[in-house]
């Protein structure tokens, strides 16, 4: 009988949180794809006005704000790793502010669409797919903002344990995901579909 081969003492498994968040992002992507496909499928199939080309304008500032919030959240994380709490809070707050601006922009855009352009969910298939797709994304921004704010408040109150940096990382992953989705949404809705 031969002795069992010695196994190396190291036995490291991937982090449960990371795998869970990756799975969550996977399942969310599947959800977004369906609404995206619905939007693409109904492009140019509205029977009555308004059409995308008449009412949509490219949201320059909102897009820049949301995309740069992905950068500021990285700065924030880097500050945390250096142990610079002040810079962490500052960049984190900037991220929240940029996200909030994006949300505010969506609010005014929708207000304008509803009350000036008379486009609602029930107007035509463009309205149906537009509000559901952009609204789905906006709802994810809201969830992200809620999490970001929660972390900021807890951290400012000193109730956030120092060894929970992985939580911060996970929230930033989620935030990057929300941004990535926006790149696709903005391309489909404000660049491709305005030809119709």
């Amino acid at each position: 009988m031969t002795a069992a081969p010695a196994q190396s003492l190291e036995w490291k498994m991937p982090s449960t949180r990371k795998v869970a968040v990756i799975s969550l992002i996977l399942t969310e992507s599947a959800l977004f794809s369906v609404f995206l496909v619905a939007y693409l499928f109904y492009m140019g199939k509205s029977l009555n006005r308004p059409f995308p080309s008449e009412v949509l304008t490219f949201p320059v500032f909102a897009t820049v704000a949301l995309l740069s919030s992905s950068v500021t959240i990285v700065f924030s994380e880097m500050a945390l790793h250096r142990g610079n709490k002040g810079a962490f809070h500052l960049w984190w707050a900037v991220t929240i502010a940029l996200g909030a601006y994006f949300l505010w922009f969506t609010g005014t855009e929708w207000h304008h669409l509803i009350f000036t352009d008379r486009l609602t969910l029930a107007t035509n298939v463009f309205g149906t797919t537009f509000y559901s797709l952009v609204g789905l994304h906006a709802s994810h921004v809201i969830i992200g903002l809620f999490l970001l704010t929660l972390i900021l408040v807890l951290s400012l109150l000193g109730k956030f344990p120092a060894d929970h940096t992985e939580h911060i990382e996970m929230i930033s992953w989620y935030w990057h995901f929300v941004d990535a989705i926006w790149i696709i949404v903005v391309t489909v809705v404000y660049i491709i579909s305005v030809r119709y």
Partner: protein, 564 residues
């Protein structure tokens, strides 16, 4: 790790006076409501799945009574339509899904040498969301008529094609109950699946490399990935339907330029992977049971893993074979016929590998093995009728006929349910510490098998003779009378078989002989702990060196790790 699962004597602190003494009813209820233990939740999943199974089985029996003779007046058309809708929806979402999740919950941590699932509270959340989604669906019988007394339970069929679900054609709230129930159930399934993925990937005990994971865990890993990718389209469908019905949206509104076919695409992007979500757990059970009762390791483990992963991938690209009749272009039809036929390859490999496992073994025909052999034979038929349905031109004749009904019952009963029975008999001693009674189980096997084939084989033939599915009655003289009568008679045998099964579960628990830790002389980790396992599963977390850790222990002279 959660403190609850570590300490057997942990008491839920409040309210203090309720159910102190063990075994009292309040105590049991309290334990069920508060538990986050994967084993208790697993058993609760299986028990509620079996409960819904009996209820929707009785619904099927009523359907068969109505169809036993032509122009029968046993049921009104609306009642009949509700019955088949509820039967289908419940069997998929309230029977199949919870029972497979029950198996995953109970066994995945035990098989990989973990103390619990990765997120025990999320696990409890998943169960309760599923359970209430089930209650919500059945509550529609009482709640759906609403103020207008229109409709009762949903009657749109389990895939609820639009525009039949639009407000104009489905008044009252029955469709809303259906929609909300599925939306809720989907959330629960996704939560549980993320839990399974994380558990299998992150909580393996020392030495349990991915290539040493039991096939059972591998297949559930594939299932969980399929759920998290395929379930969101279903949820999206339901959200769109709610927006259509309540906010005036036009996703499926054909009057406003909407498309009725879009629902079918979205639904089947979920619906076809769902079939594999339901049958892969069947494969998982068979891949555990067949080797143990053949006394040989599984034949071609790497190929089995590869085939499961391949089935998972291909299943995401075959959905429109449910839609060969909607008038796709010849290119679309050809593409989906081809992708569907490709599934036959990995599935065929699996069947051959199971037979290869038995070849040269010493087969012990215990209850789990009997049901697995039934599974192999019946799944062979189901697979071959599936090949016929994949041939798009043949499908133009067969689709939506009773042939399809026969086909998917051979898949879901002949395939899935048989392996569920096999799994229940196989792990019964582990979970409850008592051996299931062989004689009662044998009667269950014989009666149920006879009834199953009597009921569903003739349906292939009535399908060939042009009988469409979902009709509440038919005229005499169209060649369907005899086959329907035989089909209905089969139900009696099935029902008696199920009675034997239920009785066996109870009888063996009370009177069965003690099982011991490892009654089947098996090789995976769950058999290394006591029966039933303690709350913390293992006294010390095991360490493994091969795919069959217990074989290594029992055969130190010829351990598996020598061949890896």
């Amino acid at each position: 790790m959660n403190p609850e699962t570590l300490d057997d004597n942990f008491q839920i602190p409040a309210p203090e006076r309720i159910g102190q003494e063990r075994g009292s009813l309040t105590r049991i209820v309290q334990e069920m409501v508060f538990t986050v233990d994967h084993k208790t939740l697993g058993l609760m999943y299986i028990a509620s799945g079996l409960l819904f199974f009996v209820v929707s089985g009785l619904m099927a029996a009523m359907i068969r009574i109505q169809l036993s003779v032509p122009r029968n007046h046993f049921l009104d058309p609306d009642v009949f339509n509700r019955l088949f809708t509820m039967h289908g929806t419940a069997m998929v979402f309230l029977v199949g899904m919870p029972i497979i999740f029950g198996f995953a919950n109970y066994l995945v941590p035990l098989m990989i040498g973990a103390r619990d699932m990765a997120f025990p509270r999320l696990n409890a959340f998943g169960f309760w969301v599923f359970f209430f989604s089930g209650l919500l669906l059945y509550f529609s019988y009482l709640g759906a008529p609403g103020l207008y007394a229109a409709g009762s339970a949903p009657d749109v069929g389990w895939f609820a094609y639009s525009p039949l679900t639009a407000k104009a054609f489905s008044r009252g709230h029955s469709t809303d109950y259906w929609t909300l129930s599925l939306l809720l159930g989907g959330i629960g399934s996704i939560a549980t699946s993320i839990n399974i993925i994380v558990t299998a990937l992150c909580l393996r005990c020392k030495g349990m490399l991915l290539v040493r994971m039991p096939l059972f865990v591998w297949m559930f890993l594939v299932v969980a990935f399929l759920v998290i990718i395929a379930m969101p389209p279903l949820s999206a469908c339901q959200i769109m339907l709610i927006l259509d019905r309540y906010c005036g949206a036009h996703f499926f509104d054909t009057q406003a330029g909407g498309s009725a076919v879009l629902w079918q695409h979205f639904f089947w992007i979920f619906g076809h992977p769902e079939v594999y979500i339901l049958i892969l757990p069947g494969f998982a059970v068979a891949s555990e049971v067949i080797p143990v009762f053949s006394r040989k390791p599984i034949f071609g483990y790497p190929v089995m893993v590869a085939a499961s992963v391949m089935i998972g991938f291909i299943s995401l690209g075959v959905w429109a074979h449910h839609m060969f009749t909607v008038g796709m272009t010849s290119i679309g039809n050809t593409f989906f016929a081809i992708s569907t036929l490709l599934v036959a390859i990995p599935t065929g490999i699996k069947i051959f590998n199971w037979i290869g496992t038995m070849y040269g073994g010493k087969l012990r025909f215990e209850l789990p093995m009997l049901f697995c052999l039934g599974f192999l034979f019946q799944f062979l038929i189901a697979g071959l009728t599936g090949v016929m349905l994949a041939i798009a031109p043949f499908d133009w004749q067969l689709s939506d006929s009773y042939f399809v009904v026969a086909h998917f019952h051979y898949v879901l009963i002949g395939g899935l349910l048989y392996t569920i029975f096999a799994g229940l008999y196989y792990w019964y001693p582990k979970a409850l510490g008592k051996m299931p009674d062989f004689k009662l189980g044998l009667w269950h096997f014989i009666l149920f098998t006879a009834g199953f084939h009597l009921t569903f084989f003739p349906q292939h033939l009535s399908g060939f003779l042009g009988m469409p599915r979902r009709i509440y009655t038919y005229d005499a003289g169209r060649g369907w009378d005899l086959w329907n009568l035989i089909s209905s008679i089969g139900v009696i045998f099935q029902a008696v078989g199920i009675l034997f099964f239920v009785f066996n579960l109870i009888y063996s628990y009370v009177k069965g002989k003690k099982a011991g830790d490892d009654p089947w002389d098996a090789w995976s980790l769950e058999w290394s702990t006591t029966s039933p396992p303690p709350a913390y599963n293992f006294e010390t977390i095991p360490e493994v060196r091969s795919r069959r850790p217990l074989w290594d222990l029992k055969h130190p002279d010829d351990p598996d790790w020598k061949y890896e």
